[in-house]
Symmetry: C2
Subunit: 228 residues, 2 copies
Amino acid sequence: MAASRARRPERREEPLSRERIVEAAIGLLDESGEGGLTFRALARRLATGPGAIYWHVTGKDELLGAATDAVVTGAMTAATATATAGATPREAVRSLAVGVFDAIDAHPWIGTQLARAPAQSPLLRIFEHLGRQVQALGVPQAAHFTAASALLNYILGVGGQNAANALERRPDTTRAEFLDTVSTSWANLDADEYAFTRSVADQLRDHDDREEFLAGVDLIVAGITALR
Amino acid sequence: MAASRARRPERREEPLSRERIVEAAIGLLDESGEGGLTFRALARRLATGPGAIYWHVTGKDELLGAATDAVVTGAMTAATATATAGATPREAVRSLAVGVFDAIDAHPWIGTQLARAPAQSPLLRIFEHLGRQVQALGVPQAAHFTAASALLNYILGVGGQNAANALERRPDTTRAEFLDTVSTSWANLDADEYAFTRSVADQLRDHDDREEFLAGVDLIVAGITALR
DNA sequence: ACCTGAACACCGTTCAAGT
DNA sequence: ACCTGAACACCGTTCAAGT
């Protein structure tokens, strides 16, 4: 380990670039969350000073945006490939949705970030691809916007919740254990005030987040097709 | 103005309390956004030192949570009153949804905050009330969780977007002007890459956010009733 | 019990100075 | 053109000291 590191050619020789900075930022965000992305930590990882980063990037907001953009773009190109390979609109929507879902699962910080991207370019790309499938579903043109927005907003809502859960969950507990904890806490809520929540506490315990998410997508697709 | 302030009994005499702190925090958040809530600014407004606040509140996270909780609770009690006054389930869902929508419109910062509430108590209250209406819609019990979640996540997604838009929008521009700007920018997107988005750019210009939001709620309710 | 405010350990960002 | 790192103006939070 020490030997291989010693033999490796000098890392610091590679010139700084926007690409390398964004890449390092993503690494930092994945490892230690939004709080872990610091200009000082980033500079340390890139073997330079904090000021150097500002020559390539205007500030932290842009950096966060670029990192989100990079991750979402990667996820989208994979998902749209499946989507265009002769699938039904419903299948294509599911594949797009699952692409975003998995991206947020792998990088929880984008769940929070997607809701505040200023240029919104990654969001717009998702919206575009969802919209094409809405068209393919054959709904009247006047309902296109509503239908595509409903899908996107649902996906963003789940993404935000998943991101929050990932933050709340202790890193050493599995998703199943976490769901179990929530489920029992729901079951112990006040019987009058939370009658409904208590009644679905059991369902929560055995749910697969991903399946549950897709069931919601199907529900909205059903609502969309009802517009025909 | 100056006279009335001079005559007013000494403000600083009122003892500090969790309530007063949360109230002042909401004021700060409303006036200058998430960045405006600072322990120093809060202390100045309460005519005390930053340390005093920590005796009543464990830290900034709890403070943000308590502020969100207070605002959402207020919005919910108003909305549930309408909801229970002999309305159809669909009307009740709309009234609940609009309650959250308007609360986020009035306090954009809760749009971001709702997606990360750790205790999630305000979210759970919304979920409970939506769930009751789902029950009233007469869907099979196995679909209760999915249906209520779909509604909640859609509402949260829109809330997050509205919060982001409120931040992005210059304070001196109206919502209509903002939509107009976005609409023309969509119309100028690449014709191939953003064919769908371009095709709905016109619809965006004349849309009322609230109506559009409710159309999405109706769409999901339609999807839910299709489960019967 | 409750408040004060200086002090600590951080931030993002800037900028003179270097190469 | 690109990098360096000290310095500035902030943060949240703590804590000895006061009442």
